[in-house]
Subunit: 238 residues, 2 copies
DNA sequence: TCTGTGCAAATTGTATGCAATCTGAAGGTG
DNA sequence: CACCTTCAGATTGCATACAATTTGCACAGA
């Protein structure tokens, strides 16, 4: 809770919903791991950080709760979500349903301009991969997710885009918790390959590759349920 | 706003979130058209109706806003959503992506008990179809949506279930606004056919039929954009 | 009569105060 | 020494008060 950039704390004064801005800042902090799963987000503390009342802070936390990035327990408070392996599987199962369709839609709507932006994005992603240090790792996870979100944006369906916003954000949490290699290294080249197929208009293969890509991301996770049933196991065997 | 059942206004006192209960009641009222699209939902009024403060009422309205059932304009208030034809198309496009996958998952997980429940549900649906009057029409729309929600529940993916909750609710709004025949009459028999295929374990055909079913529902709508660009058109041609 | 300005009522946005609930620790008891 | 009880501190749940904004109407002027 101490690592939030100061810059993002200076919110546009009255222009728009302040709770929305706070949500965005917290959201970013969560998905690139500056706020670890389990971290408590107290209303008072969040309010103080952004210089707003608990009312506004509370609204921001409510939004994050709806997105599944935060879990609130009645009379106990809000905590950064700590997805179980089962939740992780459901997240990726959902992505397997939605993302091939998004790729298909993107093939029909993508413009040369879009493709340029994608290439820039992928170059940036590559840069982070080659850098060292935790900051670069965070940026890499973020950039990797952004590729999927850009695709959703190009697909032109606002509802699916919102679903993907949620799924990608929660995926970041899952990768942070269960990832073996931090970020699967094959992911980046697959992004390139998917973009190529989209550019060539090969919707079928692009969608197929996306499916494999999601499989690869999930395969890089260690989803043995060490958590969740931990208590039950401990009681049974100990 | 005067047609809410009194029974649902008597909420379990402290057991659970009161705002959640209010949300559910309003949600039901919206999806079966007791609250028409465009209806203003003022915080004070909602609060008075359920005998809570504006704080709680506001939280309920926020939840509905996240679900897309309510649109809030800053400093103006909350209104029951009035989906545009474009939004309607996106809703059904999303369902086309998700629901075949749900059917596939359901085939693998459905139990004989589940099937019994589905048959009961379909019988009830049929009863409403044969009844006359607006109350029966509302119940019919609700029951039709419930079939899809039960399927999502059986599929066992909480995230997809939540997405479907939202999509089905918004679909009800769309059907209310743009439906030609109220509810497409072929829908019910298709529900039966889908359930049969699922029972027989024919995932492929069941998923295919679901796809057609969604197409049929959408085909029964009149999505010429009489609304939405009306202003722009008026300015351009008039 | 039509148009533009200004005010007043109503509604939302936000802060804050009080009550209810939970947590953790201290202290007493077997 | 372990365990249970009790209580204080802290945090959330909710209500209410005040500020900011919008809207519609009244009224003056052309």
């Amino acid at each position: 809770m101490t690592l939030l950039e100061k810059t993002s704390a200076s919110l546009d004064p009255v222009t728009e919903d302040r709770s929305m801005a706070i949500r965005d800042t917290l959201r970013n902090a969560i998905i690139d791991r500056r706020l670890a799963p389990g971290t408590k987000l107290s209303e008072t503390e969040v309010g103080a950080l952004f210089d707003v009342s608990r009312t506004v802070a509370r609204a921001a936390l409510q939004m994050l709760t709806f997105e599944g990035l935060v879990k609130t327990e009645r009379n106990r408070g809000a905590f950064v979500s700590h997805p179980t392996p089962e939740e992780a599987r459901q997240i990726f199962a959902s992505r397997r349903l939605i993302e091939p369709g998004i790729v298909t839609a993107a093939v029909e709507r993508i413009t040369p301009d879009d493709i340029d932006r994608f290439r820039e994005q992928l170059v940036e992603e590559e840069r982070y991969i080659n850098e060292r240090g935790p900051a670069a790792r965070r940026a890499e996870i973020k950039a990797s997710g952004d590729f999927h979100l850009m695709l959703a944006s190009v697909a032109g369906n606002a509802i699916l885009q919102r679903f993907m916003d949620e799924l990608v954000a929660r995926s970041s949490l899952v990768i942070a918790l269960y990832g073996r290699s931090g970020v699967s290294s094959c992911g980046h080249s697959e992004h390139f390959a998917i973009l190529d197929l989209i550019e060539r208009g090969d919707a079928k293969r692009a969608a197929d590759l996306m499916l494999h890509h999601i499989d690869h991301i999930e395969a890089d996770l260690d989803l043995q349920l060490k958590q969740g049933v931990a208590l039950k196991d401990a009681l049974a065997t100990g």
